[in-house]
Symmetry: C2
Subunit: 172 residues, 2 copies
């Protein structure tokens, strides 16, 4: 088993001064490590049928679609406003300064499917919470949240709903 954490690169002052960015590109370019990471995440869901993975743009697509392939699940895109071509449902959420919006195709979220919400990284949890609200709006069943990396110091976990499974593979 590869030491996956060691393959993540730490980049100082990105995207802004004072932030230590955890760069997963050095892990995913390694085919063996990438497969090990996806397999380890899939293992967490071995006793539950996940129908669709709701992946947050854009790095969430990388981890989410490989995991969806492995689990036999479908992929649902959660994107910034204006990027999806058909009818959407959207959620506006607060950032440190100002607001942002995410949306998904209305026909991609339906009751009767079991959804996993996935992003590459859990930081403050704002986007993940907005994704949860998006799925709740359409009364989807939500199995939990999955992340490749979690920055535990930022307490994103505490912002997410109680009584829902939160899984992260690599913790800082």
């Amino acid at each position: 088993m590869t030491n996956l954490k060691k393959l993540i690169r730490n980049v100082k002052d990105f995207p802004v001064k004072g932030i230590l960015f955890r760069d997963i590109t050095t892990l995913i370019k390694n085919g063996k490590a990438f497969r090990e990471a996806i397999d380890a995440m899939a293992k967490h869901y071995r006793n539950e049928k996940i129908d669709r993975i709701a992946c947050v743009e854009a790095r969430g697509f990388i981890v989410g679609s490989a995991l969806a392939y492995k689990l036999g699940a479908g992929v649902v895109l959660i994107r910034k406003k204006g990027k999806l071509p058909s009818k959407t449902v959207s959620v506006r959420y607060k950032l440190e300064y100002g607001y942002d919006s995410i949306e998904a195709h209305t026909d991609s979220i339906s009751p009767g499917y079991n959804y996993l919400i996935l992003d590459d990284l859990l930081a403050t949890g704002g986007t993940s919470l907005a994704a949860w609200k998006l799925l709740e709006k359409k009364k989807a069943k939500i199995a939990g949240f999955a992340f490749l990396v979690e920055l535990t110091d930022l307490n994103g976990r505490k912002k997410l709903p109680k009584n829902i499974d939160i899984f992260s593979l690599i913790k800082y």
Copy 2:
């Protein structure tokens, strides 16, 4: 075998008036169809070792990372300017109006690895050609181009280098 083409939605006038957008979200949300699509693409490379898939942001990430998982390859991100945290190599290319740039991490492209360039859709071929130039700059070995969908009327194929394999799963 699912009729994958039938699962693609046609959206009129997106992103601008007069364009018929081929929307893959209706295919990829279907777990069975998504897996079949990736398996069918993987079959094309059954006799060649692909080391890394260079995926073009953002929908290329969806198809590319699932295919990389299946093939045991690594994932290399080709992104718009300013999104990658470490040292990059970039290529500027002409659009219908104006210019755009794509870049990749310098350390993700090296001679000695066999690369597949992947995007979800081949239209006029401008971005794919720029991706090829990016890899050429770093003297990478390039196995070919792969697309989930090809719009044959737009002749993107003719813009790409001769004597290199170009594979697309679904043609219009």
